[in-house]
C-alpha cells in the first residue's frame, strides 16, 4: 500500500529556543486511521497545523500524496481536509448552505458539488435540521456537520484535531463509528489527534505518542500494548514517558 502522508523531521518553534514540535517523523498508509496522542501541550495541534499548510515549519518537511507542504501547499490542500479543534461553523448559515459553500470551494462543477452535498447530508444524519440555522445546533450536531463536510469530497487524507473532545459519550461514540466506517468503505486515510488515550484505542489502527514536542514511539495498538506489557494505551504512555526519562 502507498503512503498518503510522510512526515520527515518536522519542527516548529513559536519562540526562540522552544520547540513546540521537535523533528517529528511518521507516516500514514492509504486507508489507515492514524492518531497522534499525548497530553495537552504535547505539540499535536502544532504538527497537524503544519501538515494542513496553516503554519510554516521551522525545520523538516512532509509529503501529502507526494506533494511537499513547503513547496507545493496548493497541491497539498487539494488532497486534504482539515477539521480544527473546537471548530465552529458560520452561525447565520443553515447546515445546507454551509455544505453548499464548502463544496463550492472544492469544485466549480455544479453536479460534483451536488454529489458532495448529498453525501455529506447522508453521513451527518441531521435530516431536516440541515435547513435550520447552524446557530441553533448543539455541539454534537455541529461536529457531525463539520465531519461530514470534511469527508464529503473524499480527500486522500482527512485531518481531524481532537475530533471527539467536548462531546458527550453518545455523540463521541457516533463520531468514532462514522470515522471507522468511512475509512473502511472509502479507503480514505485519517490523521486524528486526541488527548484521550483510552478512547482513541477504539478508532485508530496505529498511534504515535507525543509529549513535549517529541514523537516518542509509533506502532499498532496491540503491538504497543504487547511491547510495553500494558493493558491499555494510557499505561503504554506512562511507560514510554518513564523509559525516556531514565534514558
Amino acid at each position: 500500500m502507498g503512503k498518503v502522508l510522510e512526515v520527515n523531521g518536522l519542527s516548529k518553534s513559536y519562540k526562540k529556543d522552544v520547540l513546540a514540535a521537535d523533528s517529528v517523523s511518521f507516516s500514514v498508509d492509504e486507508g489507515e486511521i492514524f492518531a497522534l496522542i499525548g497530553p495537552n501541550g504535547a505539540g499535536k495541534t502544532t504538527t497537524i497545523r503544519m501538515i494542513s499548510t496553516l503554519i510554516t515549519p521551522t525545520g523538516g518537511d512532509a509529503l501529502v500524496a507526494g506533494h511537499s507542504i513547503i513547496s507545493e501547499p496548493a497541491k497539498v490542500r487539494e488532497n486534504i481536509t482539515y477539521l480544527p479543534d473546537e471548530a465552529g461553523a458560520y452561525k447565520t448559515m443553515t447546515g445546507k448552505q454551509y455544505l453548499e459553500f464548502m463544496a463550492g470551494l472544492f469544485t466549480g462543477d455544479k453536479h460534483v458539488a451536488e454529489r458532495y452535498i448529498d453525501r455529506a447530508a447522508q453521513i451527518c444524519g441531521l435530516g431536516d435540521r440541515l435547513n435550520e440555522k447552524i446557530g441553533s445546533y448543539s455541539r454534537g450536531m455541529i461536529r457531525k456537520l463539520l465531519l461530514s463536510r470534511a469527508v464529503m469530497t473524499e480527500p486522500k487524507l482527512a485531518i481531524m484535531d481532537e475530533a471527539t473532545s467536548g462531546l458527550d459519550v453518545i455523540n463521541a461514540l457516533e463520531i468514532r463509528k462514522m470515522i471507522k466506517k468511512l475509512a473502511k468503505e472509502t479507503g480514505m486515510s485519517f490523521l486524528l489527534s486526541s488527548h484521550n488515550m483510552l478512547e482513541i484505542e477504539y478508532v485508530s489502527d496505529r498511534v504515535g505518542i507525543m509529549t513535549k514536542g517529541h514523537l516518542m514511539v509509533t506502532g499498532g495498538i496491540d503491538e504497543l500494548k504487547q511491547r510495553y506489557n500494558a493493558a491499555n494505551l494510557e499505561e503504554v504512555f506512562e511507560r514510554v514517558v518513564i523509559e525516556n526519562e531514565v534514558r
Binding site: Y14, K15, K16, R49, S52, T53, L54, I55, T56, P57, T58, I69, I70, S71, E72, P73, A74, R77, E78, I80, T81, Y82, L83, P84, D85, E86, A87, G88, A89, Y90, K91, T92, M93, Q97, F101, M102, G104, L105, F106, G108, L146
Partner: protein
C-alpha cells in the same frame, strides 16, 4: 467562480436581515425626525393668519388691516364680550389674540403719542411649538407697527410710500468676492453656504463609510478566527488572495450600501428640518441653481464659483472619488490587521477604538479648524493620519491647493500599499495564527509558504 462563492458568503454574513432592518429603521428615524422638526419650523414661519379684536373702528385701522392682507396675513376679526381674557380665549378657542383698543387712531394721528396695543397669549407649556405661537403674534404686531409708521409718515409729513422705500434703503451694495487673485460679483456669505454644503456632505458620508466598513470587516475576520472557521477556510484549495479579496470587496459593498442609506436619510432629515427653505438650499447645492431670489444681474453662486476658478471639474470629482476609495481601503486593511489579532469578542471592541479615533479626530478637527493655520506639531500629527487627507481633499481641490491634494493622495497610496502588504502577508503566511501570541521579539526570517 470560487471567488463568487466566497463573495456571496461574505455578503450574506454582512448584509443580514437584521442589518437591513436596522438600516431601514435608521432611515425611518431620520425621516421622522426631519418631519417633526420641519413641522415646527413651518409652524414658526406660518403667520398666515391672525386673530384681531378691533375696538377702535376707524378708517385708519381699516387701512392697517388692509395692509396686513397685502402682506398675505389673513385677518380673522372677533369681538370680546368681557375683560376676562382667559375666559375669552377659551370661549373663542384661541391661543392668542391681538387687541386694538379704542382710541388707537386718536393716539397715533391726533394726540401724536405712542398708541397702545394689547396681545393676549396662552402659556401652553415650555415646548417649542408654544414659543412659536407667541412669536407669530409678535410678527402680526410688527406688521401693525409698520403700517402705523407708514400712515404717520404719509398723513403727518406727506411722505409717499415710494419715498419711504427710498429713505429706508438709501444705499445699494454690490458684494464682490475675491479668491486667488480673481473676483466675482457675489456675496461671500452665499459662496460660503454652498461651499459648506459641499465640504460637509461628503466627509459625513466618508466618515460613515469608514466606520461601517472597518467595523464589519473586523467582526467578520475576528469571528472567523474565534470560531476557527478561518483555519478551515485557509486549508481549502482556494487562493488565499481571493479569500482576502472577497472579504474586502464584501465590506466595501455593504459599506457603500450603508453610506447610501445614511445619505438618503440625511437628505430627508435636513430637507424635512428646514422645510421649504431647506429644499431650495438642497436644490441649489445639487443642481447649481441660484442661491437666493436675488435680483436680476446678480450672479448665482455657482456661476461665481466658476468665475473664481472654484468650480469642480469632472476630473476633480474623479480624483476625489479615488481619494475616498483609498481611504475606505486603508480603513479596511487596518481593521483586517487589528481584527486578526483579536482572540475573543471583547477584544474586538477594544480593537475598534483606534480606528474610531483616527477617523473621528480629523473629521471634527477639519470641520472646525483650518489645518493651515495650526502650529507645526499638531499640523504634522493631523497630516500623519491618512483620513485627514480625505476630509480636506474637496477644499484643497476647490481652493486650488494642488500640492496639498497630491501630497495627501500620494501619502495615502503609500500608506495603503504598506497596509495591504501587511494584510496579504498576514493571509499568506502563518502570521494570522501566530500573531496574537507574539510579543514582537523573534519575528521574521521564517520561510514563507508559497501560494
Amino acid at each position: 467562480m470560487r471567488f463568487g462563492n466566497l463573495l456571496k458568503k461574505e455578503l450574506r454574513e454582512l448584509i443580514t436581515p437584521q442589518a437591513l432592518v436596522s438600516m431601514g429603521a435608521m432611515l425611518l428615524l431620520f425621516i421622522f425626525l426631519g418631519q417633526m422638526l420641519g413641522d415646527f419650523t413651518d409652524s414658526m414661519e406660518d403667520i398666515s393668519s391672525a386673530t384681531i379684536c378691533v375696538q377702535d373702528k376707524t378708517a385708519f385701522v381699516d387701512d392697517i388691516l388692509a395692509s396686513l392682507k397685502e402682506e398675505n396675513i389673513e385677518v380673522n376679526q372677533v369681538e370680546l364680550t368681557s375683560e376676562d381674557y382667559a375666559a375669552e380665549l377659551d370661549r373663542l378657542e384661541l391661543d392668542n389674540l391681538v387687541i386694538i383698543p379704542a382710541g388707537f387712531t386718536d393716539s397715533v394721528l391726533v394726540n401724536k403719542e405712542p398708541a397702545s396695543l394689547k396681545i393676549v397669549s396662552k402659556v401652553a407649556g415650555g415646548g417649542m411649538i408654544s414659543t412659536a405661537q407667541t412669536m407669530s403674534a409678535t410678527e402680526v404686531i410688527d406688521a401693525i407697527e409698520k403700517a402705523a409708521e407708514d400712515s404717520i409718515l404719509l398723513e403727518s409729513y406727506g411722505i409717499t410710500p415710494e419715498e419711504i422705500e427710498r429713505i429706508k434703503a438709501p444705499v445699494n451694495t454690490t458684494e464682490i468676492s475675491v479668491l486667488n487673485g480673481k473676483s466675482a460679483e457675489v456675496a461671500t456669505e452665499e459662496l460660503s453656504a454652498v461651499l459648506m454644503m459641499q465640504s460637509m456632505v461628503v466627509p459625513i458620508a466618508l466618515f460613515f463609510m469608514v466606520m461601517m466598513a472597518s467595523q464589519m470587516i473586523m467582526t467578520a475576520i475576528s469571528t472567523e478566527k474565534i470560531d476557527k472557521t478561518l483555519e478551515t477556510l485557509l486549508s481549502t484549495p482556494v487562493s488565499r488572495l481571493s479569500i482576502l479579496g472577497a472579504k474586502m470587496l464584501a465590506a466595501v459593498i455593504s459599506a457603500l450600501l450603508n453610506a447610501v442609506v445614511m445619505m438618503i436619510g440625511m437628505v430627508f432629515y435636513v430637507g424635512g428640518m428646514l422645510g421649504s427653505a431647506g429644499e431650495e438650499m438642497m436644490n441649489m447645492a445639487v443642481a447649481g441653481q441660484e442661491v437666493s431670489a436675488s435680483a436680476d444681474g446678480v450672479m448665482s453662486a455657482m456661476e461665481a464659483m466658476g468665475e473664481l476658478g472654484m468650480s469642480i471639474s469632472v476630473g476633480s470629482y474623479v480624483l476625489f472619488g479615488i481619494q475616498i476609495f483609498i481611504s475606505v481601503m486603508i480603513a479596511l486593511a487596518i481593521s483586517l490587521l487589528l481584527g486578526a489579532m483579536a482572540t475573543d469578542i471583547k477584544s474586538v471592541q477594544t480593537l475598534t477604538m483606534p480606528i474610531m479615533l483616527v477617523t473621528m479626530i480629523p473629521f471634527f478637527v477639519t470641520m472646525f479648524a483650518d489645518l493651515n493655520t495650526m502650529s507645526t506639531v499638531p499640523k504634522l500629527i493631523m497630516y500623519a493620519i491618512p483620513f485627514t487627507h480625505a476630509y480636506t481633499a474637496m477644499n484643497n481641490l476647490v481652493f486650488g491647493h494642488t500640492a496639498l491634494f497630491w501630497g495627501g493622495l500620494v501619502y495615502q497610496l503609500v500608506f495603503f500599499a504598506v497596509c495591504m502588504f501587511l494584510a496579504v502577508r498576514l493571509f499568506t503566511t502563518d502570521k494570522i495564527f501566530t500573531m496574537s501570541y507574539q510579543t514582537g521579539a523573534g519575528k521574521g526570517k521564517k520561510g514563507l509558504i508559497k501560494q
